[in-house]
Symmetry: C2
């Protein structure tokens, strides 16, 4: 099963690479597996509904079943896989209903996040936001979808961070990533409109206007939700976030 070539941990890289990581982390191998599997799920290498066999994944990743199991369990609690009792892990298949519920929750959380950001933003924070906004505009101009998606995520994450509520930030991170997963395959970035709204948001935060920042984010979220529903009925490729 597991290839005998990969015994123990894998310090395969050159020494320089090893040195850079030496100060970082001792050895959370299960987390590496978690991230690897999450990446495979998000980029659809592992399709929704697919049965994930522990031994296969272990062999593919060059580790034993144990870290794989632990990663799968965490993936379950984060909503990426379903762990059927005596049958193993299956990549979660999102339903329309669940996607809508997630979008709704995300909207609520992000609206609050925007308010907090407006209340707490420093000059440095605003500077950072404007930089991210600019990066988004550039990605928009380059028509690079991946860059656009990343710029979008970065901006929202930055707003959450500025809000200074770690609990909230983590939740938004989880919800956001799942929403994007459900949403990406059927969607092309809403682009222009979306980044205009982002600009309004940044301005409101820069002004310290919590009420307005909340409103802008709420509308932004509702717009996304509407776009999603429009797609649902028309089955065409539509905008995202």
């Amino acid at each position: 099963m597991t290839s005998p070539s990969s015994r123990r941990r894998a310090p395969r890289g050159p020494l320089s690479a090893a040195a850079t990581r030496r100060v970082e982390r001792p050895a959370p191998l299960r987390q590496a597996v978690y991230e690897a599997l999450l990446e495979l799920i998000v980029n659809r290498t592992l399709a929704p509904g697919q049965h994930l066999v522990e031994a296969e994944l272990a062999a593919h990743l060059g580790v034993s079943r144990q870290p794989v199991r632990e990663a799968l369990q965490r993936l379950q609690t984060d909503g990426w896989v379903d762990l059927r009792p005596a049958q193993g892990a299956f990549v979660h298949t999102p339903t329309e209903e669940e996607a809508d519920q997630l979008l709704a929750v995300r909207g609520v959380l992000e609206t609050y996040s925007a308010k907090l950001a407006a209340e707490h933003a420093t000059a440095t924070d605003v500077k950072h936001l404007r930089k991210l906004q600019k990066a988004g505009e550039e990605a928009l101009a380059s028509a690079n979808v991946d860059r656009l998606v990343k710029a979008n995520a970065d901006l929202h994450a930055a707003v959450a961070t500025i809000g200074r509520n770690k609990v909230l930030s983590e939740m938004i991170g989880l919800v956001d990533r799942r929403v994007r997963w459900y949403y990406t395959p059927i969607a092309r970035p809403r682009s222009r409109d979306s980044w205009n709204e982002h600009a309004d948001l940044v301005t409101a935060i820069a002004d310290g206007d919590a009420e307005r920042a909340g409103e802008v984010m709420h509308r932004h979220a509702e717009q996304t939700r509407r776009t999603y529903h429009d797609h649902k009925t028309s089955e065409e490729t539509v905008d995202s976030d």
Copy 2:
């Protein structure tokens, strides 16, 4: 170490009992461990900051280290323990800051939950809420703290359920339980005021008035937060929820 008496799963009961459980769960032992540990943490048998040694827990619960490990990992992702890289699990020690952030998030989520409940509540739902309200009043009269805490949790959970958003319900469940954990040791149920507010909430939901339900819940949450801060400064035993 592990007592040899408890080998394998336990279909010890008579066939009738086995039949009733057969449809329920096959054998999620790790979940039983999760719940057992969570109970021990919540009721302070395992104190915040305490080092949890896998082997000890395993011996105490009569299982091997494996299910204990898996339970600990899930406890970490749910915020109950901190898993220091090569050092094991420690019961999470809540900080003032974190408690406040949790209270804030809970307020936002529950406010939205109340709105949804008002929009979706059926006559049966309202009936159920009134029953829980009544149970709360009775617990209040009996001055039984445990019953009061449970009645409170039940009512909030029921509101979340009525909202028909499972994602939201689960989140509220997690956040709520943690808030109560932080909160309970220093607090006695706020009782009278709290249940008056609950009554207003139920009425608003019964009227299908989402706006008002949201406002009431928001005030309810803010009141809790204020009470918490009052305690923080005065260090006296104060109200809860």
